[in-house]
Subunit: 127 residues, 2 copies
DNA sequence: CCGGATCCTGGTCGATACTG
DNA sequence: CAGTATCGACCAGGATCCGG
């Protein structure tokens, strides 16, 4: 019970709005996946086109704006190499890397409970 | 490193799409907050109007649909009391309650790193 | 008191075309 | 190669009204 204090405190203050803001940002269509992909890339670096291939189905526009947002929040560092043709690499920052830990817990939870969710949905939809 | 296996595996399979689906559902404007509020309510139960007061600013429509979605996923149980005026109570299921644990980690992380994010944004916006 | 039905608005995301 | 610009479809979500 001790362990859950932060959640219980959350609603008392404006911390709930912070959580909402955070989820609204990182909870978009591609951000989490992008961070995860960078995390598992050797060196935690990749260039634009590599990321586009890795995130199956992402449009060029969305990759750009997702990367900009992550850069703005300090999760990703952008490095431009003055070459022709241009090369741009994105690297996970220390802050971005620290995200892996809570996400790991979430992924674990999903892995354990996803079948329960699917079952609940199926039985709910029978009505 | 051992601890991070699930995240690294995630991208290999279709598990990434499961994570996306999950985040898309629970990552909406009110779901997480609603679960947290129920979790901290004595008995993990509350009626519709109590929830509406607790979630400052939520519209009646969004409270209804958010509750429906959570019920469909098996996080919340709905109980109708055949009275006049009607009374409806919502209760966190065991599955819903198990969500608290990973969310706790997330909240902890946000608490620790939110100031870093704000600083990163400020310095980014100076350009 | 609870919540369904409707209408409306802004924002998110994809497609496409075009630059340095 | 790595973007930017523009357009349009779609949907989350708020306001409001009504009904059991």
């Amino acid at each position: 019970m001790n362990q859950r204090r932060a959640v219980y405190l959350m609603c008392k203050s404006e911390e709930s709005s912070v959580v909402r803001q955070f989820l609204a940002r990182i909870g978009d269509k591609w951000s989490v996946l992008l961070v995860v992909i960078l995390a598992r890339t050797p060196g935690h670096r990749a260039r634009f086109s590599e990321l586009q291939r890795a995130l199956d189905g992402i449009s060029q526009r969305m990759l750009t704006t997702t990367l900009r947002n992550l850069e703005r929040d300090g999760f990703v560092r952008r490095e431009v190499f003055p070459e022709v043709p241009p090369r741009v690499e994105y690297e996970l920052t220390r802050l971005g890397h620290s995200l892996i830990d809570p996400m790991e817990h979430l992924v674990q939870w999903i892995g354990t409970h996803w079948s329960s969710i699917k079952k609940a949905r199926a039985s709910f939809d029978d009505r």
